[in-house]
């Protein structure tokens, strides 16, 4: 039985009068892949920001590695954050720095490694992700897929225990998406991180997932497999299934 690295206990989050998350519970196990899916504007990004401590819940607990981060600040929170690596939707590379400087940034700022050591590590990681020769380019000179790879390289530099992917394939063509998934599988095998993927890429993303969480009207519905979702009785879930993966599964039933 693997251990829970992230746990939500009765978490409530609202903005003004709008309740985004209404007493939700969540359990993410070590080394597993969790996909958070659901229609836009239902609180997927809010969930991610809560996990990272960028937002605070109105009530409830968020446990990361057994510690409640919902009331944490400053140094303690920074300590927790070093466990995380994040790949942002738009890659969020610092656009005034080169690829090399971007990837080196976490090492320069968070460790006491020497210049040479940093250089070796950065070049090694860039080589692993197929970015050799692009060190001196600026993010604006790269394609979307390459920017994602640089973002992934940067996130992996501090060997995170938990990786968060915010819509990793949005804006990429199917071939490039596949490439990102491939990279994701390789790096997860290599680094052994727990991963949380926020994604619209349904049903393809289910191939990667150990569990799927659908965010719907402020509630989490957890499913162990795509088939579970199919068989859900909830009308909202059925509507979501129809609109996103309907055709695929219908054709299978006809066979």
């Amino acid at each position: 039985m693997s251990q829970a690295v992230i746990q939500f206990k009765d978490v409530v989050k609202s903005f003004g009068r709008q309740t985004i998350l209404d007493r939700v519970n969540l359990m993410i196990n070590s080394g597993k892949t969790t996909v958070i899916a659901g229609p836009s504007g239902q609180g997927k990004s809010v969930t991610m920001k809560l996990i990272l401590g960028l937002l605070r819940p109105d009530s409830g607990q968020i446990l990361v590695g057994g510690q409640d981060i919902s009331r944490m600040r400053g140094k303690a929170l920074n300590e927790i954050r070093t466990k995380f690596g994040v790949l942002f939707q738009g890659s969020a590379l610092l656009d005034s720095l080169t690829v090399f400087a971007n990837v080196a940034l976490p090492l320069e700022e968070r460790t006491r490694l020497g210049r040479e050591e940093i250089r070796t590590r950065v070049l090694a990681t860039l080589a692993q992700l197929g970015l050799t020769g692009h060190e001196d380019k600026y993010p604006a000179q790269l394609s979307g897929g390459m920017r994602k790879r640089v973002g992934l390289a940067r996130a992996l530099m501090l060997q995170p225990e938990i990786m968060l992917f915010d819509e990793p394939t949005t804006g990429l063509d199917p071939e490039k998406s596949l490439e990102i998934y491939q990279l994701f599988l390789e790096t997860q095998k290599k680094f052994g991180y727990t991963s949380i993927i926020v994604s619209h890429d349904i049903p393809k993303i289910f191939n990667l997932a150990d569990q799927v969480i659908l965010v719907n009207k402020g509630k989490f519905n957890t499913f162990a497999s795509p088939e579970d979702i199919q068989q859900s009785e909830l009308p909202e879930i059925q509507a979501f299934v129809q609109s996103t993966m309907g055709k695929v599964y219908l054709s299978r039933e006809m066979e």
Partner: protein
């Protein structure tokens, strides 16, 4: 996330005839929500100032980043300040000469030019030029970083955005603006000399000795204190508006948000400089 407050009654009000009570409630609600937002904004800006200055005590201190900012904010403003100061001084020389001549006291030109530069025009015009040149750039840069999640990315890597990004700008502005002000004063006084003595034939000896006799330490101190306060206003308002581009009400999103917030920052900063100028003059005189 604050526009949520707005949506309260609008939905049902549109459907049936607006009753007087309802428009009254709506009015009160608007006042209330605006007040709340204003207080929130003041709180945000207050804590921004504290964190921005507090970053000085956080290690490792980014000395090279600060020097780079001094170059961007200070050194690169050299020619702008040079020309503005030169022509301001020359205009003062011309205007001063024709006014003073009416009283037969052209000899006081040196003291008139230098006092108005040291106490007022030097600090104020330098601050306004830096707001337009560097403040706007600062605001747009930070706003874009906010919108493209670069600030969130820094926080997620446990890199304090204040220490990394904001504090070097605070320090660089506080270093640059007083130096630029002193430079402005020097160039301006020389510009006054060119116009007064070079073109209009005022006795150079009278110009310089008039300045020497009338300028006292207090005048210089006043100008320097002003320039420090203005520097703080510039970096606080401009960097702060950019930093909070995502929560500023009515700013909109994306590129439009950044452009509106930058305009707002320049206007706010310029007005605040003039208000502080009045207050400081009243206090220090």
């Amino acid at each position: 996330m604050h526009e949520v407050y707005h949506n309260g009654l609008q939905g049902n009000v549109l459907l049936h005839k607006t009753l007087p009570e309802e428009s009254m409630i709506r009015y009160l609600e608007k006042i209330g929500s605006n007040t709340i937002w204003l207080l929130e904004d003041l709180g945000r800006m207050g804590s921004f100032l504290v964190f921005g200055l507090g970053g000085v005590f956080k290690r490792p201190f980014r000395f090279s980043a600060m020097i780079r900012q001094v170059r961007l904010i200070g050194a690169n403003s050299f020619w702008v300040i040079f020309f503005v100061a030169g022509f301001t001084g020359m205009v003062l020389g011309l205007q001063g000469y024709y006014t003073l001549r009416k009283f037969g006291s052209e000899g006081a030109l040196g003291s008139a030019v230098s006092l108005s530069l040291l106490r007022e025009l030097g600090p104020v015009l330098t601050a306004l030029m830096v707001t337009g040149r560097a403040g706007s750039a600062m605001c747009a840069e930070i706003g874009i970083m906010r919108n493209s999640e670069q600030l969130d990315a820094l926080e997620c890597m446990a890199i304090d955005p204040f220490r990394y990004l904001i504090t070097p700008k605070f320090l660089a502005t506080l270093i640059s603006v007083p130096i630029l002000t002193v430079f402005f004063n020097g160039v301006g006084i020389f510009g006054g000399y060119l116009a007064g003595c070079g073109l209009l034939g005022v006795n150079p000896g009278a110009y310089w000795s008039g300045m020497e006799q009338s300028v006292v330490n207090q005048d210089i101190n006043m100008g320097i204190i002003k320039s420090f306060v203005f520097a703080l206003v510039i970096v606080w308002v401009c960097a702060g508006r950019g930093y909070f581009v995502h929560v500023i009400r009515g700013a909109g999103f994306g590129a439009e948000g950044v452009s509106k917030v930058t305009t707002q920052a320049v206007v706010l900063s310029s007005v605040a400089i003039l208000i502080w100028d009045y207050l400081l003059t009243a206090i220090l005189l």
